[in-house]
């Protein structure tokens, strides 16, 4: 008994979440308040994540166009919360990468915001979102995001930060978004190279977020599914 207790204590919050799936399930399986300190417990994990297959992506940027369209009501690649970067002259698969917000379990953007404008939206599945009314335009979140390119964006016209909300607030779309609804990028992707999941992806490195979404039928296009 003593040994088991010690092992649980050694599991980081990230690993804990990875193994248990979600906080909700975790809370049911373990008495988490026993060992999670208050500071961390105050940031519950998001209940939704976007996964991408960078080998499947056709580089059409439809996800970016849809993202900008449903959130901003206009087509603007610079305001797309998901970014696809590609190089015409490079070799597959290094010719393209996809940069979606990871809805980090330990979100540096949330922690960096001095006015709590970037917050965990408990009403919408704990997605990390920007409260535009509160945002003071200091760009702390943009700088704090540890990934390249930064997943927190900057709207130079409104002088406010932006980030992926899994379409929980997509005013220019008639579909319900968020963790219990649909996401514009997932819906529009012609090749289903973006997937929504409620499972927490491995947080270390990219492998949890960049996955293989090529099913057997992919081979009928003449491509390897491996």
């Amino acid at each position: 008994m003593k040994k088991k207790r010690k092992m649980v204590m050694q599991i980081s919050r990230r690993d804990f979440l990875k193994y248990t799936g979600t906080v909700a399930i975790g809370a049911g399986a373990f008495p988490n308040r026993i060992w999670l300190d208050d500071a961390i417990a105050a940031i519950p994990a998001s209940e939704g994540y976007l996964l991408v297959d960078t080998k499947k992506c056709q580089g059409c940027l439809s996800c970016m166009l849809a993202c900008s369209l449903v959130h901003e009501g206009e087509e603007n690649l610079s305001l797309a919360r998901i970014q696809v970067l590609q190089n015409s002259f490079a070799k597959f698969p290094d010719d393209l990468t996809m940069a979606q917000c990871r809805q980090c379990v330990e979100p540096a953007c949330v922690e960096a915001c001095p006015v709590k404008a970037l917050f965990v939206d408990k009403k919408n599945g704990n997605v990390r979102v920007v409260d535009v009314k509160k945002c003071i335009g200091c760009k702390s979140c943009v700088q704090a995001c540890p990934f390249e390119p930064s997943r927190a964006l900057w709207n130079p016209n409104k002088k406010k930060a932006l980030k992926c909300d899994l379409c929980s607030d997509a005013p220019f779309w008639s579909k319900k978004g968020g963790v219990e609804g649909k996401q514009a990028c997932v819906e529009v992707c012609p090749l289903s190279a973006i997937k929504f999941t409620k499972e927490i992806p491995e947080q270390k490195g990219d492998t949890g977020y960049k996955v293989n979404l090529r099913e057997e039928s992919w081979r009928r296009l003449g491509y390897s599914a491996d």
Binding site: E75, S78, L85, K91, F92, S174
Partner: protein, 686 residues
Amino acid sequence: MNGYAGKILRIDLTDRKISNIDTKDYEEWVGGHGMGSALFWDLVKDKTIMGLDPRNVVTIMTSPLSGTLAPGASSRTEVQGIGIQSYPIGWFTRSNFGGRFASMLKYAGWDGIVIEGQADKPVWIDIRNEDVKIKDARHLWGLDTWKTQEEIWREVSGRGYGNWVELGSEERTTQPPAVLTIGPAGENLSVIACLIHDAGHSAGQGGFGAVWGSKKLKAVSVIGTGAVHVADPKGLMEARLWAQAKYSMDLKNIGASWFSRFGRIRPQNVFWKRSEQARLQACIGCHQGCKERSDTGYGNESTCEETSFYQGYDKWKHGGRQTSSAYIATDLLQRYGINAYETSRGLAYIIALLRMGVLGPRGKIQCDLDFNKLGETEFAEQFVRMIAYRKGIGNDFAEGFFRASKRWGRLEEDLKTGTLYYSYWGLPEHGYDPRAEVEWGYGSILGDRDINEHSFTFLFWVPSTTIWAGKTPRPPAEQVVKIYAEKLIPYENNPLMLDYSTENIYSEHMAKLVAWDRHYTRFWKESVLYCDERWPDFINTRISDYRGLTGEGEPRFFNAVTGKKFSFVDGMELGRKIWNLDNAIWTLQGRHRKMVHFSDYIYHIPFAGSGNFAMYYLPGREGGEWKYIRVNGRCLDKGKFEEFKTRFYNLEGWNTRSGWPKRRTLESLGLKSVADELEKKGKLGA
């Protein structure tokens, strides 16, 4: 102005003057080709100038749908101006390319670019949102198109690909600039030089590479961080998801769908051996890509003709096995900026002359190409480089193979025998031969170029590929013709327009088909810029009754973006107006009915068709019944083609003796000032 940036960039290279044109002044023409023709009409006072004259104006236009989610309509850019490739006159012509240039131009705040004048030394144009500069290009002159682009990327984006790039104090993008450039062929004024964008997008026809070269314009680069405003964002998103789910490729059950008109399973439009380690690659906003990037890095983003340019020779040389030579040869065309159709037909032509003993070591025409290396990379390099740098006989090749043949004194004979496979206006035959698929040939000769618009090629591919495989074509001819006929608004429900039997190909029905195609493409494909690869969608094999998206789809996306209430037929009518304006320009350039004829072999040599094309099937009536009929073995009757021209001119309201537009026709289209100008020049059709 939803769908528009609101202004067009005007650049005078002679005076290095940069100014704006208000898009509103040209909004009635909607975008793309319509706007380009109207701008050209206004800005080029003397329409009889040659393509390389500094007064020639090149327009590079977008559409209201550029940069939006409208499927297969976001990416294309329309290029116009007086070309130098066609013969006997370099017609006012067009070309069009995909990728992401048009969208980037819109995001930078421009609906198009108008280029006039001639720089005194090489320049490139650097557009970063509102900031436009004409810059010294001496360090770029001489570089191939790929190196030029990479150099500009570095110059504009610093570290470039992989992160946000700051533009100005606040604006940011992760995207590299979109660059349109010429290669050495354009610099050396080759008639067959292209404009190239990214790895494999090119405006090939017209010789615009040389037009830029003569203007000393190496490249235009654009990077934008702004928006395209959309009238009905919810409607656009809904329409896109509806069209994609209903008509496009079903990943779980991959089969032919939305205008995969070749009846193949796969959407890739490439003819060479493909790698499993590759991605399907699409232009911006496209619902179904047609090109690839592979693990070798060879052949990136090339499609269609350029992928077949060398693969046959490569296989022939290597015992049926394709090597890397086919890809490298294609990449050389892209890098040096050379038209793949000219090199394909041209290489076949000089090989024929070699076999005839006319060219090469035993012939009168000296040629230092080493034909023993045909099929190897080395030969392709030698061939492409001698065109680009006009080395040796390459100086003749660089004029296009029609003019080369003329220089060698062979033109008349080789057009009589068809050894020089150039059907219309001194331009290479596309393959949908006028003797077989007449609407393609008629459209080309009644216009300014090889139309390269595949509105009706499904009618050949579907039955033919099935018959080649020894199966019965589905759907049957009568059903296919009925569906097409329903959609041929404003000439709807006349199936005789699709009867390719020899008895019907000179009829008024066929004239209507050609007119429909010219009007449709002038507006929906060249002005709204729906991609030829995916539109029109007449027959859709994903739909149980095969009825495709055309008719409903085109205006739905257009109206969602612009907020206008355009109907399909409104677009057809505007297409007719644009087509008439183009004919007025050709008339002023010197066109006359008597010039409108095919090369001799079209009238004298029966169409055999090589390879699979020897079994060329199209719908037609036989004994009163609709069938897929074999059209090989026929030539066009010259007299009957003349009768067809009269029918076509009558249908269009053009004078039947000259082919010139009539005042009544022009005025009914709101083109009174065009009629006045023609009258002033003594070119108004009586």
